[in-house]
Symmetry: C2
Subunit: 351 residues, 2 copies
């Protein structure tokens, strides 16, 4: 198979700018690796609310369901963030999309680049050689439990719920990934306080015997937030629930020196979505300063998912080549820097 339907959702803020670099890359890949990508564009987020009133229009969902992969930009707009009373919010679009497509596992690889190591706020000896893969559960927990605000606005609640079925598939995925790596899996939870965390611990304990070569350990989330900075090399594969994963994986992004470099894949039984970890960065919108690398590396994860491994490897090499040659955006080098589209083109040309 060399024909792929890609749903493209640029979204808000810098989303459209970085996505157009990813499309540029895919056009070059198509030529170099004799395959064809058909792009279907869809609205999502604030953009979709402004145009249709709905953060996830039906048409967008349809495009995504019929796609071989979804390429996602970013979501979020300060207009909504500063208005706690807004009933319709951009984030609902992304959350509903994750749920509807059943994207239960969010996978975030973290590594360091030799030439960028000194960009990190952490000392070289702390991060050099760190290599972590985070598995964050993405369609359950407090994000999707019942929510309620009483009409008088006196109180509110959010329910964090997990069932064994929510945990088992992603736990297997994480164990299997650990088998391919350093064979160490750390479950991050708050089992000394939360019932849901104890369910996670118990479920992982039950599965562990199927992976006798993997060492499973547990860490409370407060301690993990500290250990990630004190000793990131302690970690190999991390498994955690939705909310803790949101916090921990953004925190862990400092290890690599820039959140502008970090890709992610969100996968389910049928569909998969690829997006940079960074958000919509509204302050940078339209200025041509956004770093396209996180989105481009998300494309590499997408190519792997489509079994185009040679193309994925070539793309990753081209990104590394750009970084090693200091062909980067302003977030990585304030003295000598290139625009979003210059960096995209440099990477494309190298393929």
């Amino acid at each position: 198979n060399n024909y792929f339907k890609i749903a493209v959702l640029p979204g808000d803020g810098i989303g459209p700018e970085i996505i157009s670099e990813s499309i540029k890359i895919l056009d070059v890949i198509a030529e170099a690796f004799q395959c064809k990508f058909h792009f279907d564009y869809g609205l999502i987020g604030a953009e979709a609310i402004f145009k249709t009133g709905n953060p996830l229009p039906e048409e967008t969902l349809k495009i995504c369901k019929e796609s071989d992969a979804v390429l996602f930009g970013a979501i979020g707009d300060p207009v909504f963030d500063n208005n706690p009373e807004a009933k319709v919010r951009p984030e609902q679009g992304l959350l509903k999309l994750r749920k509807e497509l059943g994207l239960f596992a969010n996978i975030r690889p973290l590594k360091t680049y030799a030439s960028l190591i000194d960009k990190s706020p952490l000392k070289r000896e702390i991060i050099e050689g760190a290599d972590i893969q985070i598995f964050r559960e993405l369609v359950s927990g407090i994000y999707f439990g019942e929510k309620f605000t009483d009409p008088e606005g006196e109180y509110a609640y959010d329910i964090c719920k997990y069932s064994r079925e929510d945990i088992i598939p992603i736990a297997h995925m994480a164990f299997q990934e650990a088998q391919k790596r350093k064979k160490k899996l750390t479950l991050i939870d708050k089992a000394n306080v939360l019932d849901t965390s104890r369910l996670w611990r118990k479920t992982c304990q039950e599965i562990a015997p199927e992976y006798p070569d993997v060492e499973l350990d547990y860490m409370f989330v407060d301690n993990a937030a500290m250990q990630l900075i004190l000793n990131p090399k302690h970690f190999d594969v991390i498994l955690t629930e939705n909310m803790f994963g949101d916090i921990i994986s953004d925190e862990a992004s400092v290890i690599g020196g820039s959140i502008g470099l970090l890709p992610s894949a969100s996968v389910g039984e049928k569909n998969a979505l690829f997006e940079p970890i960074h958000g919509s960065y509204p302050q940078a919108k339209g200025k041509g300063i956004a770093n396209p690398v996180a989105s481009i590396l998300s494309v590499a994860m997408m190519l792997d998912h489509l079994n185009l491994h040679a193309a994925a490897d070539k793309l990753r090499q081209s990104v590394e080549h750009a970084i090693e040659n200091k062909y980067v955006t302003i977030d990585l080098n304030t003295k000598q820097y290139y625009s979003t589209s210059e960096v995209g083109s440099f990477i494309a040309d190298h393929i």
Copy 2:
């Protein structure tokens, strides 16, 4: 008033060792500043479970309620952590104590010590001059909402609930502290996803006009977990809910170079409790290597609370004197180090 009733709860792990250094300090303070401390000891945590079956015996609660201040060591035992089925757990003792005493605000000051700055995993230029005060809500949220595990063990839930009344008192406290400092208050939440976070945002927005000199800003918890490491000097006073506060404040401890240095105060209308941020550190138990400074600095916060400001200042100076003279435990200097009790005595002697 120069007579104070102090409830002393050493707890688990290294708790007893560090608490005896704090008592040593209080004995010296009593003499030097002409006051008297009466100590009532109580059981709590794993220690209390082993001896009485109850992580917070009635007697302990009574001692605390009648005290002018509670001096708390640490809680937690691996026996329970690795058993998700345990019904009675050490942490329940501390959580119940916080709730029963109405200790709604957990206050954690964070600063750097000139002589320890190079101990931090973060680069000197990132942390030098960082000075943050965290206000964590301590008696509501997901810690205290209804919890449930179904008898078949198929699913579980934890409810995060907040009312305006839970938020208003600690918000005022945080605004007032900001007024005394750099006049900047950052509310950390996840208002793009959680109803409870939107209630926090709305409530703080309502209170803000009473503090026109304080600049209130908002930050999503995932972004905050990143910004704390990228740019800790951005923060002055932080206000947040219980679970996020647990994570963020442990994470922020890396700024100061060691969690072994960080004190906290948990205050309510009637009572107050003082404890180090670090936990029971069971691996170090009985080895004489635990750092007593976090507990000793918690004593300083307690002295301030008892209006013994001169004693508190003197104690803080003595701690700084010990640190500047490298009279520290192994966590701060692996080449030349002193035992828990040597460090305690050195500080006591300086008072």
